[in-house]
C-alpha cells in the first residue's frame, strides 16, 4: 500500500492514524506500507498520478484500489482493502 499525504495537514495526520490502526487490527504486520509526503517528494505524486492527498493506493493483492480522504469511514476503507 502507498499512502500519499501532505505534511501535517489535518486529513493527512488522520489518514495515517486510521490506516495504522487498521493495519494493526486486521493485518498484524503482514503488509507493506509506504507513506509518501508529497511536500517532501513532489515528483513522486506526479509520477504516480496522484491528484489529491491523502490518497491511499492498494497495490496488492489485486484488484488495486484507490481510497481518497482521511480514511475515517472505516467500513468503506475495509471494503476497499478487501478486509471484510
Amino acid at each position: 500500500m502507498r499512502l500519499y499525504i501532505a505534511g501535517a495537514g489535518p486529513n493527512s495526520v488522520q489518514a495515517v492514524a486510521n490506516l495504522q490502526a487498521i493495519c494493526r487490527e486486521y493485518l498484524a504486520g503482514g503488509h507493506q506500507l509506504e507513506i509518501i509526503d508529497i511536500l517532501e517528494h513532489p515528483l513522486r505524486a506526479m509520477s504516480d498520478g496522484i491528484l489529491v492527498t491523502p490518497s491511499l493506493n492498494k497495490l496488492s493483492p489485486l484488484p488495486v484500489a484507490q481510497i481518497l480522504g482521511n480514511l475515517n469511514d472505516r467500513p468503506k476503507v475495509l471494503l476497499a482493502l478487501g478486509l471484510t
Binding site: 489529491v52 491523502p54 480522504g69
Partner: protein, 327 residues
C-alpha cells in the same frame, strides 16, 4: 481493475469563498480536479492538497495550509527552546545573521561574529587536527554537530559555545552557506574544568602519601594507583607492584609457591569486603624478605562506593608497630 472510493458526506467547502483570491483559488482547484471522486472528497473536507500534475506542485487547501504553518511555527519554537541562538553564514563561511540575542547579556560580544568565519574568532581549545576535520566537513558540504569551542570575550571572561550546522543550497543546488544553532555551554565547561582540577588535586594528594595505595574496581582490576604503589617492585612480595589495568584479584588467586597462602588469604579478603559493602575492612599481615632482609608488611582492604560503583581501596604499609605481632 481499479476501484476509487470517495468519502461521501454533506458538501463542506474547505476554502470559504471570500474575495477575488478565494475565487481564484477555487478556480485553480476546479481546473486541477475534474474527476468526480476527487471533487466529492474535497467537498467532504477530507483533502489536504491538490497536485498540479504538470508541475508536481502541491496546492494546499486552507486548513492544511494552516496546519503546515502551525507545524512550522511549532518546529521553530522547539528549536528556540533547544538552542540559545541561531546563525547563518554565507558561502565564504562568514556569519551573516545571528538571531535570538535580544535577551542575552553577551549579545554585544556575539554580534561581533558578523562578517567573521568561525576560524577568525579568538578561540582557544581547537587543535590543528580539529580545525582540519572541521574544514574538511565544510569542504564536503556536510553538516556538523556539537562543535565545542572556547573563547574569551573583551572582558577576559571565558565562554563555551557548542555549534551545530547544516549546509544550505539554493534552487539551482548551488552552495550558499551554512545555517545552524548554538548552545551556551559555559557552565558545563566551567564545571568540567573544576571537576578536572579537583581530580588532579586528588591524584596529586594520593601521590604525596608515602603509603602504597591502589583502588580496585568490582572485578578486582587496579583502576588507580599512587606513586608509592607504582614505584614498588613486584619482587617486594605478594600484592606489590601490580600495575594499573591488571587484575589484582586474579594476581592473588594465581599466587604460587611461598606466596600461595598469602595470595589466597588476600583474595578471600577482597571478596569478603566487596560482599560486605562500603566501610567493610580486612587486614592481612605478611612476612617476607627482600634484599634488605626479612620484612613484615600489612595489607589493608577497605570497601567503598564511588559514583554507585563498588570498589576496594588497598593500602600496603611496611613493618607494623611492634605491639602488633606479625602472623
Amino acid at each position: 481493475m481499479s476501484a476509487r472510493v470517495a468519502a461521501a458526506a454533506a458538501p463542506v467547502h474547505p476554502a470559504p469563498a471570500r474575495g477575488k483570491s478565494a475565487a481564484a483559488f477555487q478556480g485553480a482547484i476546479l481546473r486541477l480536479v475534474k474527476g468526480g471522486p476527487e471533487r466529492r472528497a474535497i467537498d467532504a473536507g477530507e483533502i489536504d492538497a491538490v497536485v498540479d500534475t504538470t508541475t508536481g506542485r502541491a496546492l494546499l487547501l486552507p486548513a492544511a495550509q494552516q496546519a503546515v504553518l502551525h507545524d512550522k511555527a511549532h518546529a521553530i519554537s522547539l528549536l528556540a527552546m533547544a538552542s540559545d541562538w541561531s546563525w547563518r553564514q554565507d558561502e565564504q563561511h562568514r556569519f551573516t545573521t545571528i538571531t535570538g540575542l535580544s535577551e542575552r547579556s553577551d549579545a554585544a560580544d556575539l554580534a561581533t561574529f558578523i562578517g567573521h568565519a568561525l576560524w577568525d574568532l579568538p578561540l582557544e581549545n581547537l587543535s590543528e587536527a580539529d580545525w582540519l576535520t572541521h574544514h574538511t566537513q565544510r569542504d564536503w558540504r556536510v553538516g556538523f554537530r556539537a562543535l565545542e569551542l572556547r573563547g574569551s570575550d573583551a572582558r577576559g571572561q571565558v565562554h563555551g559555545i557548542s555549534f551545530s550546522g547544516e549546509p544550505e543550497f539554493d534552487a539551482n543546488d548551488r552552495f550558499v552557506g551554512y545555517y545552524g544553532v548554538a548552545l551556551d555551554i559555559t557552565g558545563r565547561m566551567q564545571a568540567q574544568a573544576a571537576a578536572t582540577r579537583l581530580q588532579h588535586q586528588a591524584l596529586a594528594a594520593l601521590d604525596a602519601i608515602p603509603t602504597q595505595v591502589c583502588v580496585l574496581d568490582a572485578n578486582g582490576t587496579v583502576v588507580l594507583a599512587n606513586q608509592a604503589w607504582r614505584a614498588c617492585e613486584r619482587t617486594s612480595g605478594i600484592a606489590a607492584g601490580v600495575p594499573e589495568g591488571a587484575n589484582f584479584l586474579a594476581w592473588c588467586d594465581r599466587a604460587a609457591g611461598p606466596e600461595r597462602a598469602d595470595g589466597a588469604a588476600v583474595a578471600a579478603g577482597i571478596r569478603q569486603v566487596m560482599a560486605a559493602g562500603a566501610g567493610a575492612c580486612f587486614e592481612h599481615r605478611v612476612a617476607t624478605a627482600d634484599v634488605q632482609g626479612p620484612r613484615v608488611f600489612s595489607l589493608q582492604l577497605t570497601a567503598c562506593h564511588a559514583d554507585g560503583e563498588a570498589c576496594t581501596v588497598v593500602s600496603r604499609t611496611g613493618d607494623p608497630p611492634p605491639s602488633a605481632p606479625p602472623r
